[in-house]
Symmetry: C2
Subunit: 294 residues, 2 copies
Amino acid sequence: MKTYLDCIPCFFKQALEAARLAGASAKTQKRVIDELAKALPEFPLTSSPPEMGRIIYQLINKITRTKDPYLALKDKGNQLALDMEHALRKKINNSHDRLLTATELSILGNIIDYGAKNMLDVEAEMAKILEEENRVKTLADKDNFHYMQFREGLGEARTILYLADNAGEVVFDKILIEEIRRYAGNKKIIYAVKEKPIINDALIDDAYVCGMPEIAGVISCGADAPGTILSLCSRKFLEIYNRAEMIISKGQGNFEALSLEKRPIFFLFMAKCPVIAREVGCNVGEMILIGNSA
Amino acid sequence: MKTYLDCIPCFFKQALEAARLAGASAKTQKRVIDELAKALPEFPLTSSPPEMGRIIYQLINKITRTKDPYLALKDKGNQLALDMEHALRKKINNSHDRLLTATELSILGNIIDYGAKNMLDVEAEMAKILEEENRVKTLADKDNFHYMQFREGLGEARTILYLADNAGEVVFDKILIEEIRRYAGNKKIIYAVKEKPIINDALIDDAYVCGMPEIAGVISCGADAPGTILSLCSRKFLEIYNRAEMIISKGQGNFEALSLEKRPIFFLFMAKCPVIAREVGCNVGEMILIGNSA
């Protein structure tokens, strides 16, 4: 997906928030904004938003001399999600279609995002996830929620590559992978995280803390963009990507980076902004599960 | 009021909208954004938002080769407000405190603003104004709504300068001025509009179309900023400003431009963004009537 002009005000908003999170003084915050303004005219809109996001956050880290301003938020997100693990499993045990419920919960887990949603009260959102019975219902035949196709794909694929989005969300992904194994039998499933800190995206450490290695192979994609930009990924990752019979792509950033790719990808995310909603043809806040069958 | 860093993403958003309203192509819209980005580092945050707003809209007009992209919206706003005139008067006739109701309606009329509120459905908002009985109630003793002080000031002042905000809103201002005359007797009241097109701010033509000369003297402030920036105003206007025993300042832009001034100003506006809400100490969407007694 290309970058839209409407993304630009949001880039400035995100840069300001990240600078504040990094503890930057007002003067340094202004410098971040000014440097971003200077970089902007050079940036081609044909690139995807995660490509610009990567440049922005590199700039912020350089100016504020931080490496991982979201570390504390990520740790908090992991802990909150782990604290919810039992409740999430209970919800699945009580559901009519375990795989559907696990899929929906995994998409709802995508709410844990400090990039697009600002200053989100994570705890409140987490509680809301468990309360929102109405959202976790049979959406099987809805537009932008192609569950039957997804389930069929899971049944057929022998190897699955699962692209992580944010820390915390990993717990939800782990539970979905458990249900995929329960539904579709033993598969080779690889869970790919980012190589270096970028916003609140999951890294290897987050995957371990959340217990992912117990259920799937964990690798890094080799890149540090807030979305899987293939040209930045490692050769090892690209081999797995090209061979996987099904790819599960979590989050808006991965959709932005991969929406034009031709591999058999299913995109699972919450549509968090008007630009993405227009791109997909949905409402902001909608739960999306769309296939990209080659 | 100074410009906050949080105003900057909003500048880009407004620039994009204005460029689109001016019929700019995607390429020209990008040029507007890039030129704004280039100008940004040079802009001191000690200046008020209307000073930056003026520069931004001048830039847009230059790049898009338009002089008044908001003309059609202003005409529509005037017509809508004139269509409501009878209903507004009826509301005042049926109220317990005519002056209070006229004051509140005049502040609600400030909703007609295409700068801070984007793509507002004016007709829906207008209908809402008349329906919202709950909002038009006795707020006399509330924080940030100093009605008693305002009424007292009106009683004492012999000359009043009334600073206009947007087109359309002029009709609401005219009705308030009628009620001021009814309550406080004959006064010299001057209604000041902007000199040249800037966003949807009222100009001399708008004041005439809305019937303002029937009830008050109409002048231009001599400037073209979206707020009364005194250093840009005409000598004639400044003489009136300095001699007026009371100044009624409508809208957020005039508050941003004049909040630090020492003349006896009452600011009447709707708090439209988080930055102004923090500055005033109120909620977004709150009706504000605060004095600045020298």
